[in-house]
């Protein structure tokens, strides 16, 4: 990408993180797709960085942590709910600490443009005890990523770079500044008490963690990411992330303290700021986290009312918070919702499940749109992987006639992400009525923009790699009924197969296989390129043999 060479660029927050990671010498970028974080690794790969998709977020963070133990800088990306999956790693990685800089990007989605909840991942920094940086635009995304690796190494702690949809996907100008402190070369330094978390090592590690956090708080008092903008004395606003930008527009006369390090908090700087103004407001998107902590610290600050906890903030809502205006906000006019594409291979699946009057334990992906008319054929959708297991729970307790109607529906990427343990549960604790799982294999992670996964046989760059065969995996796990159908064949095989599996009262997996119609032309291209490469290699080999 020639863009890399320009000094001044128009970049999304995601692209800015990728560019900074490249310039900071990151040796490994890994993650699992999820809006709005997906473009970070794609851009990092396009810039020439080593970028790879992991099967899920826990795996990604573990791989990243290993790289950081080896002294390398690593970037791990995911959407907010991905951090739930990776949380087990995160909490103990805070104890072990890191040698090379480790940044975990958590891309939160206030307002739920494309998510199942609007959890506020600022809680995670506090719960786990890791540093959190919050950029407000692409320039800060670039600067904070660069600084984040240096901070992570200085204090030996993972850093969460918390972005939100508006920071990830908005484009703004980035000046490519040189970054502090270049990356060191990786090498293994044995440090058993720091990295082997048996209780005898973990007890002192917890105390070490608290000491480190106190040091980070002291550092944050005067670091470049703690931005104090003194203006009027009448009003001061403490804020973080994108809200800082809305605040500057809504109250140009107000003094502003933008907390670039939003955990641990620089309490002295905050105290000084509060004392410098007559009225001090804390304006934060999402949960009342900062305001609660500042009130607990005995500071005289005001928060927002409960109604502003929901959804995104914007300039209008910030004006209302300042004015204490509690009048009803005009609802946003409803646009047209997205639909399954014409010709989408998920369509006949949900027509069949609707016509068979199934109770459908669903999952997350394009196919969640099977919940909307004309299908209305999904009864649950909670988190990735929950289709198989929630379906099993229903099967275990429902009266027999109802239990026999339960089907679990899971996408191919979701199956690789968190379906395998559900299958293990199914064969280990089979319901009395059996169970039917449908894997909707459309050859891509369609929902987030067609990323590869271990079941496609292609890596992040769409180059060939090992392909996991779903049918073989199911059989190896002990399933006797494993059937593959083409949902678009139009021969009635789909309905017959589902009916037969339901009637059998046994455990069954149906793989409904047909590429996503938007991805299909590209998949054909990747396959063709791979075949040509193989042919060329074989030709070179036989030439070598005959020589």
């Amino acid at each position: 990408m020639a863009k890399q060479l320009q000094a001044r660029m128009l970049l999304s927050g995601d692209e800015a993180v990728a560019l900074a990671a490249l310039n900071a010498g990151v040796l490994l970028g890994t993650g699992y797709p999820g809006t709005p974080s997906t473009e970070i690794l794609e851009a990092f790969g396009a810039l020439g960085g080593k970028a790879q998709w992991a099967p899920n977020e826990k795996v990604a963070l573990e791989v990243g942590l290993g790289a950081a133990f080896g002294g390398a800088r690593a970037l791990v990306t995911m959407k907010h709910v991905g951090v739930n999956v990776a949380a087990d790693v995160l909490f103990t990685a805070a104890y072990t600490g890191v040698t090379g800089g480790l940044i975990l990007v958590s891309a939160d989605d206030p307002g739920m443009a494309s998510s199942q909840n609007e959890q506020d991942n600022r809680h995670y920094a506090r719960a786990a005890g890791v540093i959190m940086l919050e950029p407000a635009d692409s320039q800060q995304a670039y600067d904070f990523t660069g600084a984040g690796f240096a901070i992570s190494e200085q204090f030996g702690l993972p850093v969460i770079l918390r972005m939100t949809t508006r920071v990830c996907h908005s484009k703004s100008i980035v000046e490519q500044k040189p970054l502090p402190q270049p990356a060191a070369a990786p090498s293994f330094q044995r440090d058993i008490p720091a990295r082997v978390m048996i209780p005898a090592h973990a007890r002192p590690a917890h105390r070490r963690l608290r000491d480190k956090l106190a040091q980070v708080a002291a550092y944050a008092e005067s670091c470049a990411q703690t931005l104090v903008e003194p203006r009027g004395k009448a009003l001061g606003i403490i804020t973080s992330g994108i809200t800082a930008m809305h605040v500057r527009d809504a109250a140009p006369e107000a003094s502003v303290l933008q907390l670039g390090v939003s955990y641990p908090l620089p309490l002295n700087a905050i105290r000084e700021f509060v004392a410098s103004v007559e009225r001090c407001l804390v304006i934060e998107e999402g949960d009342p986290i900062l305001v609660t902590e500042l009130l607990a610290a005995g500071l005289k600050v005001e928060g927002k009312s409960e109604r502003f906890r929901f959804g995104e903030l914007n300039v209008d809502r910030v004006r209302r918070i300042i004015a204490r205006d509690e009048s009803e906000e005009a609802p946003a006019p409803r646009g047209k919702p997205p639909m399954l594409c014409e010709g989408c291979s998920h369509r006949p699946v949900f027509e069949t499940l609707r016509d068979l009057n199934c109770i459908v334990a669903g999952d997350i992906g394009c196919y969640t749109l099977g919940v909307l008319p004309p299908f209305s054929a999904m009864d649950t959708c909670v988190c990735m992987g929950a289709s198989i297991t929630v379906g099993l729970g229903l099967r275990h307790v429902l009266p027999e006639a109802e239990a026999r109607r339960v089907v679990s529906v899971i996408g191919d990427s979701t199956f690789m992400h968190s379906g395998l343990t559900g299958l293990a549960e199914m064969v280990y604790n089979p319901p009395a009525t059996g169970h039917v799982v449908m894997i909707l294999d459309n050859g891509t992670t369609a929902m987030t923009g067609q990323q590869e996964h271990p079941g496609t046989g292609r890596d992040l760059r769409h180059e060939p790699t090992h392909k996991i065969n779903f049918e073989e995996v199911c059989r190896a796990m002990g399933l006797k009924q494993v059937v593959t159908v083409d949902p678009l064949a139009g021969d009635g095989a789909l309905a017959t197969t589902v009916s037969a599996a339901l009637a059998s009262g046994e455990l069954a997996v149906i793989v409904a296989r047909r590429p996503c119609i938007l991805a299909a032309p590209k998949i054909r291209q990747y396959d063709k390129a791979a075949a040509e490469k193989l042919l060329a290699r074989n030709a070179a080999c036989s030439a070598a043999v005959t020589e």
């Binding site: 128009l10 809006t35 500057r248 527009d249 140009p252 300039v315």
Partner: protein, 162 residues
Amino acid sequence: MSEQNVINVVIAGLGGQGVVKASDILADAAFRAGLDVKKSEIHGMSQRGGSVASDVRFGPKVNSPMITRGEADCLIVVAPDQVEVNRHVLKAGGVLVSPEALANIPGKLPAKSINIALLGVLSTHLDLPVGIWEDAIKANLAEKHHKLNLAAFAQGRAVMQG
């Protein structure tokens, strides 16, 4: 408006109509003119057909990337049936540009280039040099689409000048 001289343009339509592409081009044109610029939209669903709206703000200094309801100087709507759901963003006296503006266009206009033709109409309301617009169009589209879209842009401009 809090920051002086910031221009707010909303581009709206349905998925697959090139709304994001059009806003990329507008933002790039402002960027090439040396202005501060921020552009924001919610995207992420691959599926076709849902509503899309993109905010572009440019001027000497831009803070929030989002345009406040009732504060847009211009609104471009690529899908005629999306005009009403987006009208609330316009300020009093703001400019609405919809495909209706192209009704009397000279020559034929391919459906795929309506977004670019509407940018042509918009360009007559803004202070950005034509050469910069053309550079931005070329930088954001594959070479094989340049000729068609530069023509569509010129057709859009001609509507207002004719």
